[in-house]
């Protein structure tokens, strides 16, 4: 047997063991947004560019894996000038850190339609272990994953210098997401 073919077979075998194939996400029906308070005013800003890769098998949820990559420059505050500002060094520093990412380390079932997800969240070069509940439902033949992950922006240096003032922009930020995926 030729080495290339052997490798191919081995990898096929390995992916069969790993579980279900990676689901195809539907960007039109998926969204990632950050919700925060600015002088106590709730503001929601969507990330328009992101990719999610979810390897999920309802029969074996604990074998699931998920990774999400978010283009930090795609945060939309609804104003072109503000969008340019938050790309700067004090905020996302998109030139140096164009991507924020989440990689799951464990996914456990937590009752019907619910999963507990733990993983590593990396924003602006800083990583933190996070965990959050995820709901799973089937909608029109697709699987819909929804969840909210509360974080503290200052733990990731989002908003440096005078922006550290949390009376202006609160430290608490909730990352709200929904990913619609199917085979």
């Amino acid at each position: 047997m030729k080495p290339v073919r052997a490798l191919l077979l081995a990898s096929l075998f390995a992916s069969a063991l790993a579980g279900a194939a990676v689901l195809k996400t539907d960007p039109a029906k998926s969204s990632v947004a950050a919700v925060f308070k600015q002088m106590n005013v709730p503001v929601e800003a969507k990330f328009t560019t992101f990719s999610a890769s979810i390897d999920y098998d309802a029969a074996r949820p604990e074998a699931s894996r998920a990774t999400v990559d978010i283009a930090t420059a795609s945060m939309d505050l609804g104003d072109a000038e503000y969008n340019r500002e938050i790309a700067k060094k004090e905020w996302f520093n998109t030139a140096q850190f164009p991507k924020a990412s989440f990689v799951s380390t464990s996914i456990k079932p937590a009752g019907p339609g619910k999963l507990n997800v733990a993983g590593k969240l990396t924003i602006k070069g800083k990583s933190a272990d996070v965990n959050f509940p995820l709901t799973v439902k089937t909608e029109g033949g697709k699987t819909l994953f929804e969840g909210q992950l509360p974080i503290h922006r200052l733990a990731f240096n989002i908003g440096e210098g005078e922006w550290k003032d949390t009376s202006m922009v609160a430290d608490e930020v909730v990352i709200k997401f929904r990913v619609s995926a199917g085979k």
Binding site: M39, V41, E44, G78, E81, E85, I86, W163
Partner: protein
């Protein structure tokens, strides 16, 4: 000459001070480039002041409907009385239209108004990127119209003091001027 009632005088001057302050703050804050904490703070203050004008204007309109202002003296030409009524009518209209256009502009931008950072005011329309520039332009031009009418109003009042010396303006002053000097 009969003066305006005390509530009418108090509301007139409170609203006058707030309108001049809010208008000036609007020009200053929109002139600040980029995104700074001061800019965001001014935006919040501007909105709180605008909502206050709207509330006081409502009280003033209710008071105006139940308490008639003193009649003009017979010595005043009729066209002046009609012009004054028309100008006052337009000022009343703009006392409502200016803050309301700003309120809806903020909502269209996806930023609800939280009065004094404490009371979330109703979100009557969803964020709307298409409507936002329209309401922004409307808010700006209504303000320019208000500024022009206020200038006209002040000039007319000064005319009554300096040229006519007929005591018309003194009816709205919060204090009594020396009669010999001004009448």
């Amino acid at each position: 000459m009969q003066r305006y009632s005390l509530p009418a005088i108090v509301l007139h001057w409170l609203i006058a001070i707030l309108i001049v302050g809010t208008f000036t703050l609007g020009l200053v804050m929109t002139d600040i480039p980029g995104l700074t904490p001061t800019k965001l703070r001014y935006f919040s203050w501007h909105k709180w002041a605008g909502v206050t004008v709207l509330g006081l204007a409502t009280l003033r309109l209710l008071w105006r409907l139940r308490s008639r202002p003193p009649a003009y003296p017979g010595s005043m030409p009729r066209w002046q009385g009609r012009a004054a009524h028309a100008l006052h009518g337009l000022l009343y209209l703009l006392m409502f239209a200016v803050p309301l256009s700003g309120y809806f502009y903020s909502l269209a931008a996806g930023v609800p108004v939280v009065y004094f950072g404490l009371f979330a005011l109703p979100v009557l329309i969803d964020a709307d990127p298409a409507l936002k520039p329209v309401l922004g332009a409307l808010h700006y031009w209504l303000n320019m119209g208000l500024a022009a009418l206020v200038a006209l109003h002040v000039l007319a009042a000064l005319k009554h003091v300096v040229l006519d010396r007929d005591g018309i303006m003194q009816r709205m002053l919060p204090f009594r001027l020396n009669k010999k000097e001004f009448q």
